[in-house]
């Protein structure tokens, strides 16, 4: 079973994402911000990361930059999942090493399509 780290400061979004991803056969870990997510990745790198942009302590963009510098940090497929829905944010995320990008609101079909696109399904 593949693991996916869901990083979002909203417990509601984490719950929705968990339900969708568990339905796609993922084992889920959760983090409320970039710092928690980075700690989780230092302990064990997941195969996939569903990542919010705006979060307290460390935002998604900063987390991604730090993740990619970790040993093996280029391994996890990172899919941004955010309300930042403009081209500039998307381009910035891709430049920083994101593999895909989901614009909120999202549903199961979109998550499934994006995870297929990056080879997680």
């Amino acid at each position: 079973m593949k693991t996916c780290l869901v990083v979002d400061d909203s417990s509601v979004i984490r719950k929705v994402a968990r339900r969708i991803l568990e339905g796609l056969d993922f084992k889920i870990e959760e983090a409320e911000d970039g710092e928690q997510a980075l700690d989780a990745c230092k302990r064990q790198l997941p195969e996939g990361i569903l990542l919010d942009w705006n979060m307290p302590k460390m935002d998604g963009f900063e987390f991604l930059r730090m993740l990619r510098r970790l040993p093996g940090g280029d391994g996890p497929k990172v899919v941004f999942c955010t309300t930042e829905n403009d081209v500039a944010h998307i381009a910035r995320a891709l430049h920083a090493g994101a593999n895909e990008y989901i614009m909120k609101p999202f549903d199961k079909e979109i998550v499934e399509a994006k995870f297929q696109e990056v080879g997680l399904l």
């Binding site: 081209v87 891709l94 895909e100 990008y101 994006k114």
Partner: protein
Amino acid sequence: MTPQDFDYLRKLLRERSGLVLSAEKQYLAESRLVPVARRHSIATLADLVGTLKTAENSRLATDVIEAMATNETFFFRDKLPFDHFRDTVLPALIAARAREKRIRIWCAAASTGQEPYSLAMTLRSMSAQLAGYRTEIVATDISTEVLARAKTGIYSQFEVQRGLPIQQLVKFFSQVGETWQIAPEIRAMVQFRPLNLLKDFSVLGTFDMVFCRNVLIYFDQDTKINVLNRIARQMAEDGFLALGAAETVVGLTDAFKPMADRRGLYVPNPAKRARAEPSNVLKFALKA
């Protein structure tokens, strides 16, 4: 809607568009036709059927057929056919058309445009290999309403997230308020035309690649055979046909044969290339 009215509608749809509406789909007809009745200021579905009976070739009949057609589609739907197009079809055609340098593609059920635009983006991504080649994408659909939408190239955020890789979104789309519009140079690569597959389509000319996906499933056996045989007549002998995941030529016609290891992709069968009898085509055209 009375069973008699529903039977009349089923017969009309089958004769005019080839669509087979099964007996248990009455709820679907009712849900889709109420807005049509409202648009035409008709009070009830019984009145709608009554009006249809007096004018089967009216705008109302066209609107009924368009409302009943299924337009479900998304960018790079099923992925595999587009991988075949990029990795198998285009390299073969680039080599085979080295002299005439012209490649013609037909999307036979283009709906709101995601399929032809996906092909156009694929062609644009291979522009180095296609340098000097003239490529043409003809996209047809029975519904003028969906074609009008397709031509705008405007899609909701939900639509661009289904199947379209984010890199392609950034590269080929621009934001227009809450929506996304595909680039003018991609839109210019596709010609949209209304077309009923039951009618004669020989005027479209010969194609090197035909996408006829997820439309045959709505036809009865005879119509599937007729359409496939007439598509075969519009194809280059070394062309390719892509069908939907739930469709096949097997058991229907030997005008095509499946390509080994390329699921959903078919090639003309030169030994047994079917030539639909002109009288057969005419029969369908007249019925339509």
